[in-house]
Amino acid sequence: MKRIKCIRTVVFLLLIAAISYGLSGIVSNKDSYYYKNQFFNSSTDFDVLIIGSSKAHEGIDPFYLWDNYGISSYNLASSGESIQVSYYVLKEALEHSNPKIIFVDASKISDEKNAINCGYGFVHESIDYLPLNKNKLEAINYASKFFDGGKLAFLSNLYAYHDRIDDLEEEDFNRKINYDKGAYLMTEVMQVSGLTGEITDELKELEGGDGVVYYRKILDLCKEKNIKCVLLNIPVDGDHLTTGFQKQVNALMKITEENGETAMNIAVKPELIDLDFDHDFGDPVHMNFMGAAKLTDYIGKYLVNECSLEGHFDDEEYVKAWDADKEKWEEQRIEMLADKTEPVSYIFGINPENSYCEVYMADKTQAEKHYALDYCFEKMGIVPQTVDKEEIGSLDMKIVVRSREDGRWLAEQYFVCDDDNKTFEVHKAE
C-alpha cells in the first residue's frame, strides 16, 4: 500500500514536472530560439561570427557574405545586447563552432562600472536559448545581479514569462526559426542626418567599466582560441555619433590594436562603404538592408583580401546546406511581408532576383508624398499602374507579389493614404 502511494506520488510529481516543462515552452519568449536555433543546429561550421547589439544584428547580412564571397558566417548579435552578455554568448558559441574571425560591435561596450548596460528583456533574448551549462550559468550569475527576480528569472522561463499567457500567439505553439542566419534586416527607409559634427581622434581615459573589462575578456578568449577579432564601429546618423562616444571607441580601438587585432571605425568614415544617409537607414541608429549590404560587402572584401579567407563555393556540403537554407529564407521573406506596415518596406521585403511586385494606385501622384516610395519603385524597376479606386477595394494602393519564375501569385497587400495624405499605411481589414 505504502509502495503504491509512493509510486502514485512520483507519477503525480512527474506529471506536474512535464506540465510545467510544456507550459514553460509555450509561454517563453521565442526571440532567442528564433534567432539562435539555426546556429546551434547547423550542419556546417561558420568561419565568421558576429556578436553585439542590434546595430550588428541589423547591419551584417550572412547571406550577402555567402552569395558574394562564399563565406560561411552567423550573426549572433541581438537587440540591446551589451558586450558583457555577448562575451557569454561567444563563449558558448565557441563550444559549437570554430570560427576564424569574430566581429565585435563596439556600440555596447560601456565604460560604466557595476552596470550591465542591457535591459532585462534583452538579456533574455540573448541567453534564453543557450544550453543550460557552465557558460549560461555564469551569464545568469553575472546578469542576475542587476535585475529583480534573481537567478530564477533567467533559469526558469516559466517563472520569467508566465504572464505572457495573455499574449500567446500561433508562434508560441508552432515555433518558427529564422533562416537569415541570425540577422534581422530592416526594409524601411528613413532619411537621417549625415555626419556634420566634429570627428575626433582623441581618446577617452577608460575607467575600467564592466564593458571594457568584458571586451578585454573577449580579446583574451580570441587569443586563446587563435581567432582573429575585429572591432567594428557600425554607422549611425550624425546626431548619435557623439564626441564622447567617438573618444570611447577610439580608446577601445587602441586596446584592440595593442592586442594585435583590427578595428574598423566605419561610423566616422561612412564614405568607405559609400553610405547614403538618405536611403541606407531604417531608423537613426540602424542601417536597413541596403546599408547592411554595403557594410557586409566591405567586410567581405576585407575577409577575402586582408584575411585571405577562402569561400566554400567548392565545398558541396556547404553549398547544399546554404542553398537549402536560402530557399527556406526566401519563403520566410514572403511570409514576413504580412508584417510590413507601409509600401516601401513591403516592396523592399522581397528578393528581386526571384520575385517582383505589381503596384496598382488610384492616384499616382500620391507616391511622391511617401518618403522614398519613388526611389523604391525606381530601384526595384516598378512602374505603378493607375486603376479605378473600385478595382483596388476603394483603397489607395494594392501591391501584388509574383514569382519571377512563372508569374504565380505569392502575396498581396492593400494600403491607404493617411489623413495628411503623406504616407501610405497598410489597410487592416475590419
Binding site: K5, L15, L152, Y161
Partner: protein, 521 residues
C-alpha cells in the same frame, strides 16, 4: 536580508532544506532543529538585529513567569511567589511597551504632531530610528497569552528558555500569524517521523493559499488601488466597486498567506490554529468575527474581554446596573463593557488610530447595538412576517454583514480617518453627482490594469471560492471532499489549480512582490 516572503522562491528553497534537515534529525532533537530553522529564517527574512526584540520579549516572558509563579499543580492551581502578581503585570507592561515603542509609534507621533502644530513648544516626537521588528504583533500577543495562561494555571511556566523561544519564534507564523496558545502548540516539541501524506496535505494547503494570494488578491487590488490612490479621479460606482472588492482582496491575501503558513507547519507535523472559516458566510458581525482572524479574536476574548468581565469592578458595576435597570440591562452593560476593551485592544493592535475607529470602535458599536436591539428586531421581524428561515433572508443577512465589514475596511485601506470618511461620503456620489453604472459594461474596467482575462478570472475565482467555502462547511475542509474523489478528478483538481497558479499568479520578475497586507503587523 533576502526576499523571504512566503511566496518567494527563496522561501521554497529554505522550506525544502528545512524539511530535509528536520526529518533527518532524531525525534527528540527535532525541536532544536526547528529552533535553529526559526532563528535562521528570522535572520534571513528580517533585519537581523531586530531579533533582539524577539529575544528580549521571550526573556521577559520566561524570567518574569519564573519569578512570579512558584508552581502549577495538576489541577491547574497556581502558587505564586512573593509579588507574583506584580511580576506578571510588569512582564505584560514591559512586553506591551516594547510593542508600543516599535509598532505603535503612530499613537505617540500623531498626537505630538497635532499638538506641535498648535503649540510649537510641544515636542515633535519621531519614530525610533530602528528597523521594524518582524512578526512583533504576533509574538507579542503570544507572549502575553503565555504569561496570562501561566498566571491562571492553564499552562505551566516553561523551565527551558529555548522551548519558549521556539514557541514565540516558530518561523511559519512569524510572517502573518496565526496567534497560537502555548498549550495548544505542544506538538512543536514532539517527535515527528516522515509521512508522505503530511507533506501532501501541507502542499495542498499551500497551493490553495497561493491561488488566493497570487491569483485572486492582486486582481481585486487592481480595482481597489487606483480608487484609493487617486480618489479625486474616481467617483460614483468606482467607489462602490472599490468598497466591495477590497474585502475580497484582503481576505484572499490574508487567508491565503495563512493557508500557506498552516500548510508549511503541517509539513512539519505541527497544527497551527485556524484563522479563517468562511467569514463571508457570516450572517452577523458577531459571527463574522468568529470566522475572521479567529486567532486574534480568540486572543482578545480570552485575555481582554473575559478578564474585564470577571474583574471586580465590572462585576460590581453590573450589580449596580442590575439593581437599577434589571437583569437584561446588566447583562448588556457588562458584555458591552467587555467588548469595548476587547475591540479597543484589537484596534490598537493594528497600529494606528484609524484602525481603532474603523475596526475597534466601529465594530464595538455595531455589535453592541445588535446585542441590545436583538430582541426588538426579532419582534419586528415577526410582526412584519419576515421569512427568517428563507434562503433570501439568509442571503440578505450575509450581504448586510459583508457591507458592514466593507465599510470598516475603508478605514483599513484609506490613508487616515479623514480620507476614510471622505471615501464613505463619496459613496453617495453614485446617487447624487455621478450615476455611472455603465462603467461596468462599457469597457471602463479595462482602462485599469485589468484585462478581459483578468475579469473572467476574477469571476471564476469568486465561484471557486464559493464552492470551496460550501464544501468546507459540509466536509470540514474542501480538500477532505477532494480526497474522497477518484484519482482522475482529484488529480484534475490539484493539477488544474497548479496550472492556474503557475500561469496566472502574480509572481516573477515583472511582479512587484509587495509584502502581504498582514505581514506588517
Amino acid at each position: 536580508m533576502i526576499s523571504m516572503t512566503i511566496t518567494s522562491f527563496s522561501f521554497f528553497v529554505f522550506l525544502a532544506a528545512a524539511l530535509l534537515i528536520y526529518y533527518l534529525t532524531p525525534g527528540k532533537f527535532q525541536w532544536w532543529t526547528l529552533l535553529f530553522l526559526s532563528i535562521s529564517f528570522y535572520l534571513l527574512a528580517a533585519v537581523p538585529y531586530t531579533i533582539v526584540f524577539l529575544l528580549f520579549t521571550s526573556l521577559v516572558a520566561y524570567l518574569f513567569t519564573r519569578f512570579a509563579i512558584k508552581d502549577v499543580d495538576t489541577s491547574g492551581q497556581v502558587t505564586l511567589n512573593a509579588h507574583g502578581g506584580a511580576f506578571v503585570a510588569a512582564a505584560i507592561i514591559i512586553i506591551a511597551a516594547v510593542w508600543f515603542l516599535m509598532k505603535g509609534s503612530a499613537y505617540w507621533i500623531q498626537p505630538s504632531a497635532f499638538m506641535h502644530a498648535r503649540i510649537p513648544a510641544f515636542p515633535l516626537l519621531q519614530a525610533i530610528p530602528l528597523a521594524s521588528a518582524f512578526g512583533m504583533g504576533y509574538y507579542t500577543c503570544q507572549a502575553i497569552g503565555y504569561i496570562v495562561d501561566c498566571y491562571w494555571g492553564s499552562s505551566k511556566p516553561e523551565r527551558n528558555f529555548f522551548r519558549l523561544f521556539l514557541f514565540l519564534s516558530f518561523f511559519p507564523q512569524m510572517t502573518t500569524g496565526p496567534i497560537s496558545k502555548y498549550k495548544n502548540l505542544q506538538s512543536l516539541y514532539e517527535p515527528h517521523g516522515f509521512e508522505l501524506e503530511r507533506i501532501e496535505k501541507g502542499a495542498q494547503r499551500m497551493l490553495w493559499g497561493f491561488f488566493k494570494c497570487l491569483v485572486v488578491s492582486g486582481r481585486f487590488g487592481a480595482i481597489v488601488n487606483p480608487v484609493y490612490t487617486d480618489p479625486v479621479n474616481y467617483d460614483g460606482i468606482w467607489i462602490w466597486l472599490a468598497l466591495f472588492a477590497y474585502p475580497i482582496q484582503v481576505y484572499c491575501d490574508f487567508s491565503g498567506s495563512v493557508d500557506i503558513v498552516l500548510g508549511v507547519a503541517e509539513m512539519f507535523g505541527i497544527s497551527l490554529p485556524e484563522n479563517f472559516n468562511n467569514p463571508f458566510f457570516s450572517e452577523s458581525s458577531q459571527e463574522f468575527w468568529q470566522r475572521w482572524h479567529m486567532s486574534l479574536g480568540n486572543w482578545a476574548r480570552d485575555y481582554i474581554m473575559y478578564p474585564v468581565l470577571k474583574s471586580k469592578m465590572t462585576v460590581n458595576a453590573g450589580k449596580a446596573v442590575k439593581k437599577k435597570f434589571g437583569k437584561k440591562a446588566s447583562k448588556n452593560f457588562t458584555v458591552t463593557l467587555g467588548m469595548f476593551f476587547s475591540w479597543l485592544v484589537m484596534g490598537i493592535w493594528h497600529g494606528n488610530y484609524k484602525y481603532i475607529i474603523g475596526c475597534g470602535i466601529y465594530f464595538w458599536l455595531i455589535m453592541s447595538l445588535s446585542e441590545i436591539m436583538k430582541d426588538r428586531l426579532d419582534i419586528l421581524n415577526k410582526k412584519l412576517n419576515v421569512p427568517v428561515d428563507s434562503y433570501g433572508w439568509h442571503l440578505f443577512r450575509r450581504i448586510r454583514t459583508y457591507f458592514i465589514y466593507s465599510i470598516s475596511l475603508v478605514f483599513f485601506r484609506a490613508d487616515g480617518v479623514g480620507s476614510a470618511i471622505n471615501m464613505i461620503k463619496g459613496l453617495s456620489t453614485f446617487f447624487t453627482v455621478n450615476f455611472n453604472p455603465w462603467v461596468l459594461f462599457d469597457g471602463s474596467l479595462l482602462k485599469t490594469s485589468l484585462t478581459v482575462v483578468d475579469l473572467n478570472l476574477m469571476i471564476l475565482s469568486v465561484v471557486i471560492l464559493y464552492i470551496a467555502g460550501r464544501l468546507r462547511e459540509q466536509y470540514g475542509f474542501c480538500r477532505n471532499w477532494i480526497g474522497n474523489q477518484g484519482l482522475v478528478l482529484r488529480w484534475f483538481i490539484w493539477i488544474g489549480l497548479f496550472v492556474i497558479v503557475i500561469l496566472y499568479g502574480n509572481y516573477g520578475p515583472n511582479f512587484n512582490a509587495s509584502d502581504f497586507i498582514y505581514q506588517g503587523f
